[in-house]
Point group: C2
Chain length 362, copies 2
DNA sequence: GTGAAAGCGCTAACAA
DNA sequence: TTGTTAGCGCTTTCAC
């Protein structure tokens, strides 16, 4: 068993340094370093000896020393709003796996969609000297954090954020996402194709989620193109866990919506539960569609109708892009990954007559 | 706007060091350090001057330097099987929040329940010189990683793992979890109280999940105490996403179970979906209970019957305990947090006659 | 092929 | 109160 041993009294022998390995192997620290990293020329015999001694001593290189010297950490900072939402957790898993396969380490911070938390978290990560950042910010178009990163030339890649919206300029901020506008429009077109005409949108707060806004714009576009009137969205704080009174309001109107397009799956699933609590059947009386494609949506019955983002793939692509930027490669434009529609069972053909409205559909 | 500015050509002015701040402020680096950390005595005027210069220069302390010097990183390593399972993601969120509030940073690694990945990941975290580790291992009773940490005196806290099972010795490995045995027994007792007699268990593979085993032992205990015979559990790899053939097997037997106790929610929800796919009604024909209490279980209808663990709280408690251990406080025994039963709608009174069996219940 | 020495950025003795 | 200096562990010139 390799040293160091615990000293029995609870304290512990200090981890051996390269110096001690050098002493034990009877060579200089330079030689040890070269042998360990297979850098520079080292005699085979010497190298073997050093390696043997290092293993025997349980030597474990101290990355602080190495990184300080190299002014490079092989650490990627990750800053996300929350891990309680599966979409971010799954993305983080993708990031972590890909980072691991490139011998990178990740440092994770969550911000709860709060700009001041973004400020603090990014600062801490920069103090750590992460080589680059993967992050989702509340509003990528007006973000002091991104301004800072730009000003300091810190490489970063946005995930889920889609700055520039429908017209992402090639010169703009690097991001990896789906085309939220297009996806939103397609989902609403699907709802319209089912015969719905009064489609309403429930959305995360735009100030905290630019993608939510893009999806809404897609909704608007689809409605307008079909010659239908769109309504102001119901903006829902991401902390909301009960939508019943809002839904009662919405569906108690004279011309209540027959379909609800929710800007994320969490919202959609909450809505479905609350609708059922209110005695409304989904999709028979109200159709509901979400956005994200989190795995749990498939466990519902009926399966959640939603836009599926390649969440883990977004994370992996972000790592790849970030590593390119860190390596100094030129930014060639965002990675717009493909989404798909999952035509589950929570949105169906519009019923002939909606139960809640006193006015028949046009 | 603080320096450094980007140099226009894409390269970037190096971040200023304490040395440069010292030069600009006309003092020594020691004074800058003292002023910045409010350590030692510094004249008010000097301090103000230093702080002003530091801000103006956009100085950001390099934690590698600080940590190398302090042989301490204020970084907690976190090693979990996967973030795709909400129970771990929510726990990580709890860890991150609590760590942040103690000015600690976290480094995250996932292992996919693979022992060799645990080995590699822990080694990387130790090379990073994390101050301690929060981790879930496949088998806490026989873990080379934990043996290593013990041997080297690295502080760590297990989450979800419950080494020692029903009799955790005070001297044993530090952990934070619910009492999996007790919780499993109580859930099965609940099923029995609903009139079920043939309860079967579906479990994650014991080799990859000691909690799964504890929950099974609880099942055994409840069955035995009621004078019923327990069956071998159906062990399910955590990668399984379709249980239909297994369920057909199980329910096609002569005396099929009327209730299924699943060792985690993910499994339970998959099972419920697959049962419905097979044309079986839940809970009318088969009752299903889970374990974990992930949020999405509440979005199902009916709501998932399950054991609710205080997942985020487990994460927070783990951080607190780990920080105590790092501070050198003596380990006073595990934190066994309280679970609750969520009596949702997926488990109900046993039907008089089960449809699938040819043999009537005793 | 190997070693001596400088230095990455910071803190903490020790001096003044 | 402030400055000088050593050194945390490592890599990398530059000699030899």
């Amino acid at each position: 068993m390799p040293n160091p041993q615990p000293s029995g009294d609870g304290s512990v022998a200090k981890a051996p340094t390269i110096k001690e390995v050098a002493a034990a192997a009877g060579v200089s620290v330079a030689t040890v370093s070269r042998a360990l990293n297979a850098s520079g020329a080292v005699h085979g015999t010497t190298s073997a000896k050093v390696l043997a001694v290092a293993r025997q001593l349980g030597f474990r290189p101290n990355l602080m020393g190495r990184n300080l010297r190299a002014t490079r950490t092989r650490t990627l900072g990750v800053m996300l709003p929350t891990l309680n939402h599966p979409v971010f957790a799954e993305c983080l898993q993708g990031i972590e796996t890909q980072a691991q396969s490139h011998q990178q380490v990740i440092a994770v911070s969550t911000t709860g969609y709060q700009v001041d938390a973004e400020e603090r978290a990014s600062e801490r990560l920069l103090q750590q000297r992460v080589d680059g950042l993967i992050l989702t910010v509340a509003d990528a178009a007006h973000s002091s954090v991104l301004d800072k990163l730009d000003a300091e030339g810190v490489p970063y890649v946005l995930v889920f954020n889609q700055p520039g919206g429908t017209q992402p300029s090639l010169a703009a901020r690097p991001f990896v996402s789906v085309d939220n506008f297009l996806a939103g429009r397609q989902m609403v077109e699907h709802l319209l194709s089912l015969g719905h005409q009064r489609v309403h949108m429930l959305a995360g707060q735009f100030q905290q989620s630019d993608r939510s806004l893009q999806r809404f714009l897609g909704y608007q576009a689809a409605m307008s193109a079909a010659g239908l009137t769109w309504s102001q969205p119901l903006e829902v704080p991401f902390t909301t866990c009960d939508m019943r009174s809002e839904l009662q309001d919405l569906l108690g109107r004279r011309s209540p919506p027959t379909a609800l397009f929710c800007s994320n799956d969490q919202l959609a699933m909450t809505v479905i539960r609350d609708l059922r609590d209110l005695g409304l059947r989904v999709p028979e009386q109200v159709s509901v569609a979400g956005f994200d494609g989190v795995q749990v949506g498939e466990w519902l019955s009926p399966v959640l109708t939603t836009v599926v983002q390649p969440t883990a793939e977004i994370g992996r692509a972000a790592v790849d892009l970030l590593l390119q930027l860190i390596a100094g490669e030129r930014y060639l434009g965002p990675a717009l990954l493909h989404h798909t529609l999952r035509l589950g069972g929570t949105a169906s053909q519009r019923a002939q007559q909606h139960q809640a409205g006193s006015v028949p559909p046009p």
